[in-house]
């Protein structure tokens, strides 16, 4: 009996275990397949998300750089030069960052490259995108048709004080080409008086009016005054100033220094670090320019007195009158004087020499950049 019972137990193996294992395998495969497909979909979606975040970061970098154009740094770059800005990584909790490189292509055009990156917590790069924007300096369009543009009566010392021949300022050649089209020595809508000698050729322009001195193409006197890098008042004697060179570095122009209007001179006694600094200087009232030197664009809402052998390189726009003080001075570029209904500008002792290069360099040197009007944007990778 015991043996027979033992045999029966051995014969009762059945298929339950096999079925259970099979069911487990099928269910396992089902779950694994679902998980794999879901994981694949999730990875695909995440990759798209990371690529999108890197792209948006790159766009943000380019847009921010152009919107907050660093005139002192970018406009001072030599043609062919470039600079890379410190990475900005404050977006999305630090996981998204951009690095911007600015190349100066020509005197007026730049290529702004912005590489956006999405990184993981360990700093590994998950996605990169590089956006390029072609930008050009948005220089104000000054209506310069005379070395001196006078909106009211003017009194010149002699005809030699104003010269419409296009010449480079002393020491600016050969980087500043001369020989462009000459302009009239004087363009005026009023009488021009000369203390001695003949009256210089005058371009009589009755259409000369307020907008000549306040509207400059895409910008205005007020807009430029609002964005001016330097504000001047009272009596000033501007001189360039540089910060001392750091270890292994070169001296940099101290643009925050009071009375620093850039360096127009070269050679001994000059401040080379400020040669590329051409600020917009704004005087909200009267200004007494008593000696010293500067370059850029000078905007004076009141009257301007030039004295003490002061020298300025670039366009000067005065909404009031201009008067020469003791020692007089010199303007290399162009002088635009709106004048006043009563009284005349007394320029005897002030030399005005037209220089298209000085005007263009000043306008470009102080101009912000804007994307090209056409075809500025590109996805570089």
């Amino acid at each position: 009996m015991r043996r027979a019972h033992s045999c029966r137990l051995n014969d009762e193996r059945g298929i339950a275990l096999v079925v259970a294992v099979l069911a487990l395998v099928v269910i396992g495969a089902l779950v694994a397949g679902t998980f794999f497909a879901g994981r694949l979909e999730q990875r695909g979606g995440l990759n798209s998300l990371f690529a999108g975040q890197a792209f948006e970061a790159a766009e943000a970098g380019a847009a921010t750089t152009i919107a907050s154009w660093d005139v002192a740094t970018f406009n001072a770059l030599p043609v062919g030069g470039d600079t890379t800005l410190a990475p900005a990584g404050s977006l999305l909790g630090g996981n998204v960052s951009y690095v911007v490189t600015v190349n100066r292509l020509t005197a007026a055009t730049f290529l702004v490259r912005s590489e956006g990156a999405r990184v993981d917590a360990a700093g590994g790069v998950l996605a990169r995108r590089l956006v390029g924007v072609l930008a050009r300096l948005d220089a104000p369009a000054l209506d310069v048709q005379g070395a001196l543009t006078a909106g009211g009566a003017v009194d010149l010392g002699s005809a030699a004080d104003v010269d419409g021949t296009d010449v480079a300022p002393p020491g600016w050649a050969p980087s500043c080409p001369a020989g462009g089209a000459a302009v009239s020595p004087v363009r005026s809508n009023s009488a021009v008086q000369v203390d001695s000698g003949p009256v210089p050729p005058v371009l009589s322009d009755t259409a000369l009016g307020g907008t000549t001195f306040t509207s400059f193409g895409s910008t205005t006197f007020d807009a430029m005054a609002a964005g001016a890098g330097v504000t001047a008042a009272g009596t000033v004697t501007p001189l360039p100033a540089a910060l001392p060179a750091g270890a292994g570095g070169a001296a940099t122009c101290s643009i925050a220094a009071a009375g620093n209007w850039g360096e127009p001179d070269a050679g001994a006694g000059s401040t080379p670090a400020c040669v590329g600094y051409l600020p917009v200087i704004y005087a909200p009232g009267d200004l007494h320019f008593a000696g010293g030197r500067g370059q850029g664009m000078l905007l004076v809402r009141g009257d301007l007195v030039i004295a003490g052998g002061a020298r300025f390189y670039g366009p000067v726009v005065v909404l009031g009158r201009v008067t020469a003080g003791p020692g007089g001075g010199q303007v290399f570029g162009a002088l635009l004087v709106a004048g006043k209904a009563a009284g005349q500008s007394q320029l005897a002792g002030i030399g005005v020499g037209y220089s298209s290069c000085a005007v263009a360099r000043a306008l470009l040197g102080s101009a912000p950049a804007r994307p090209f009007a056409e075809r500025s944007w590109s996805l570089l990778y």
Partner: protein, 281 residues
């Protein structure tokens, strides 16, 4: 005598065993078939979503750089399910330009591939007066052959593009003027093998056959809506400021829709592409 009674099964036992086996077998077969259908459906759904997502990425990336302006609109033919356009292919600077060659500086060359004619053409930037943007322009020039290695006047590596530059243009070119290259492409919905696909071909390269990009799609699976600056439909290419791209995909084969029904699954995505190079105010 007991051992004789324990050998074999009774008829009832056999019947019960067979019935149980049939039930278990049926369950297993159903389970396997369901598993197979589910796996296939998941695979089809994944492929469908990947296809639609790829379309929503690829098409905007291709159209985003389109521009308009004095050198002509990049939108050449606007259709509801097709578009012919100038696809931007490279950006760089010309370190030298002669009457027969544009020399592209390699260090500032960004391209999907080396440009060459007649597939590609050049847009050359004419700066004019540096102090004024009013006279700036892009000049379209044909590339007449294959590029070759060259060098810039400063000795750096360059790529020479054979072309013909008119004297009037040559006089306006400045060193390191920006350059773009483009290729005329067509992208459209087409039918092949009973299914709809999104495909593209290079018109400027003379390609006659359209190459598939993604699919299968619905019969209205590629839809383009051209919008002006106010978001209203634009009839003229010069007015287009953005394009709504809609991709509607279907699965390659019918998948289970429950209750034993099989049908094609659908999915769609819409993306609005702002044309980055449309004229700025």
């Amino acid at each position: 005598m007991a051992p004789h009674r324990t050998r074999g099964f009774t008829l009832a036992e056999l019947l019960i065993a067979l019935i149980l086996l049939a039930i278990v077998g049926d369950v297993v077969v159903r389970l396997l078939a369901g598993s197979q259908r589910l796996t296939r459906a998941q695979s089809e759904q994944t492929a469908l979503q990947a296809s639609v997502r790829a379309g929503a990425l690829l098409v905007p990336a291709e159209l985003r750089e389109l521009g308009t302006g004095a050198a002509g609109a990049d939108l050449l033919i606007m259709g509801p399910d097709s578009i012919t356009y100038r696809a931007q292919r490279a950006v760089g600077v010309a370190c030298a330009v002669t009457a027969t060659t544009i020399v592209l500086r390699s260090a500032l060359m960004f391209a999907y591939r080396a440009p060459g004619g007649p597939r590609d053409s050049v847009l050359l930037y004419l700066e004019g007066n540096p102090a004024s943007a009013l006279d700036d322009a892009w000049q379209v020039l044909a590339i007449s052959g294959a590029p070759s290695a060259g060098s810039c006047p400063d000795g750096s590596a360059a790529l020479d593009l054979p072309t013909a530059v008119p004297a009037g243009v040559l006089a306006q070119v400045v060193t390191d003027a920006p350059v773009r290259t483009f290729e005329v492409m067509q992208m459209r919905l087409y039918r092949s093998g009973g299914q709809y696909w999104l495909g593209s071909r290079s018109v400027s390269a003379g390609e006659a056959t359209i190459q598939p990009m993604l699919g299968p799609l619905k019969s209205n699976g590629f839809q383009l809506d051209y919008l002006d600056a106010a978001g209203a439909p634009a009839a003229l290419a010069s007015d287009v400021r953005s394009i709504d791209v809609t991709i509607r995909g279907v699965t390659d084969a019918p998948v289970s829709a429950g209750l034993g029904r099989l049908q094609l699954a659908e999915d769609s995505l819409r993306a609005r592409v702002r044309l980055r190079n449309a004229p700025r105010p």
